[in-house]
Point group: C2
Chain length 388, copies 2
Amino acid sequence: MVSAPAETAVLALLLAEGPLSRVELARRTGLSSTAVTKAARPLIDDGYLYELPPERTAPGAGRPVNPLAVAPDREFFVGVKVSPDHLFGAVCDLRAGIRVTASLPLTDCRPDTVTAVFTELIDELLGCEPEFRDRTRHVGVAVSGDVDRDSGLVRHSGLLGWSDVPLAGLLTDATGLAVTVENDVRALTVAEHWFGEGIGTGYFALVTIGAGIGSALVVNGELLRGAYGVSGEVGHICVDQAGPRCRCGAHGCVEALASTDAILRVVREATGRTELTFEQVVELARDGEPAAREAFARAGRAIGVGIATLVNLVGPERVVVSGEGLAAYDLFGRHIKDAFAAHAFGAASRCPLLLRPLPWEEWSRGAAAVAIQALFPQYAATAATGSG
Amino acid sequence: MVSAPAETAVLALLLAEGPLSRVELARRTGLSSTAVTKAARPLIDDGYLYELPPERTAPGAGRPVNPLAVAPDREFFVGVKVSPDHLFGAVCDLRAGIRVTASLPLTDCRPDTVTAVFTELIDELLGCEPEFRDRTRHVGVAVSGDVDRDSGLVRHSGLLGWSDVPLAGLLTDATGLAVTVENDVRALTVAEHWFGEGIGTGYFALVTIGAGIGSALVVNGELLRGAYGVSGEVGHICVDQAGPRCRCGAHGCVEALASTDAILRVVREATGRTELTFEQVVELARDGEPAAREAFARAGRAIGVGIATLVNLVGPERVVVSGEGLAAYDLFGRHIKDAFAAHAFGAASRCPLLLRPLPWEEWSRGAAAVAIQALFPQYAATAATGSG
């Protein structure tokens, strides 16, 4: 683990932004040049950083500078997303570049089944390259639901049917690796904040749309957790007090109007065709069927109002919109953007909404990003530290 | 100004929590006992801290300890709230205790009028006690609208009709004092976070209800500002897309349903009595008039949904509800609490809503709390540092 604050600052900046000179590192971290040089030394000795060849400088501009760069192969990190029927895994390098992926089916999602399949998946992934097995100490695991990252406990996961499962402990005991467990949307947000659209932003948000509608928020550079573990519940913003009942019990939540299930239900009711699948509803809407088009329009308005609310309250610099729901973005994208523009308050309307497709590998990469964070003491989970 | 990080940590903790022993200070700040003793020394020498008489300890419990305490009279701070027709001022001590208050009317709210009356008010306040004039260096000013605290610029204030007024600079030039300007709801939140219900909370929110509906949020101990200067706009959360048009241009904002003007308008329309005042509407509702009662019920539901949204997204540990609208709390309090309970997601429903009356002195005290913060380098405005 990187322990000194100056080392942490230097490594984190190089991870996010790529090669920088010592002068630039000093300027950006607020450290003195001497402190940067001193902090870089053990990181170079340990192989995390290396010096690039001297940059060509203008004649007479002084001695050439050797920018510092992260050695991405110095250490590898496994990320695993737990879904109800599969484990999706990836090995990533130190800069969250995906090196190999694999998945295994789950016959059920009892914790001991998940643990056994997880062990098998880790073995398969680390077996791909000898250097993976030699240089992997940290695994990140992404789970839908209420997760206490510090203790590694999954407090509640409706999708998996779990309550109070000490997942990090189970997986560490089974594999001997350090395991950090995080909520899946938060994990995705970590990846996007450290290695994607969120680089360098203090305030950042990611919203996922699809079967569920969720978000995670970064404020002052840190993931927002909430005093009661609840935050970023954009899917449970009420946008219509007279709207349909949500699975959470309230009425008119964004999710009750805009999840794939909500869209499917309303089109089935309107058309009387109870056998329709979501894919068929998408086709109907693309063919111009009015009820299907209106269902997507209503969903898009609800999502747009929800994102505007998030932006008006928390003030992100940009919002990434992702999730499997993006496959139908042609049907509700305009409604999302229009409703956002109508409800964003003042200067908040300048906040851009950026679209990012979300293949399943991205969920695994998110989990791996959480494992990369665990290199840094301020993000390390306290409970499961493994044998690393 | 307190400059060393350890001094800052020790003074901030004693300001918020009152007398503590060095051992307790070390435990709470994470500093070593030696570092606490070293940090306290210059603060004692400068008169900010003093040692209390030894605490009685159990026999055999070792030598008695002298808790450290803040000397509240060491320095005074003026807080001024700018309203369209008055300046409201207060002198507060180092622990935000109000020592004296005064107000002066404004004939108009042009910046030069405000500056002249401000100078007069400061003179009147500091003239109350010789020690006020000797020991006051910092003034906090609270203004409704979009304020850039760092530069002291009021970017926009609809209530005052201001755009881009460099208020801190004007007031510093006129008085020679260091002036920090802050949005009024944020200032109130600083006072409540440092010296009130928010003490010790990492996540905290304050919501004001009345002519406007606003909020400010504390996350990880810091006031949330938003990347575009917009945050905490609970008044502009859309709770009914088909609702009435708000002054911001959108439809169905909390403010369009629940501000005093919104309540007044709907009752005037329903009763045909266009001459009604808000006070009369309150009386009608208390007498059981159905349209008036329903207007408050609708307002309460909108506020409750708005607070639930804030809690679901940001996750405060507690929410203080304040503002002149509390005077009618008997009419909509139940609706606020019911709607909050119905829409808070999962464990977020445990977040308590606390009521705090808001006499105008509290606005001035909020401004003074911002001035107290300016003692600490991380909160000091960069532009207007005065002659202090």
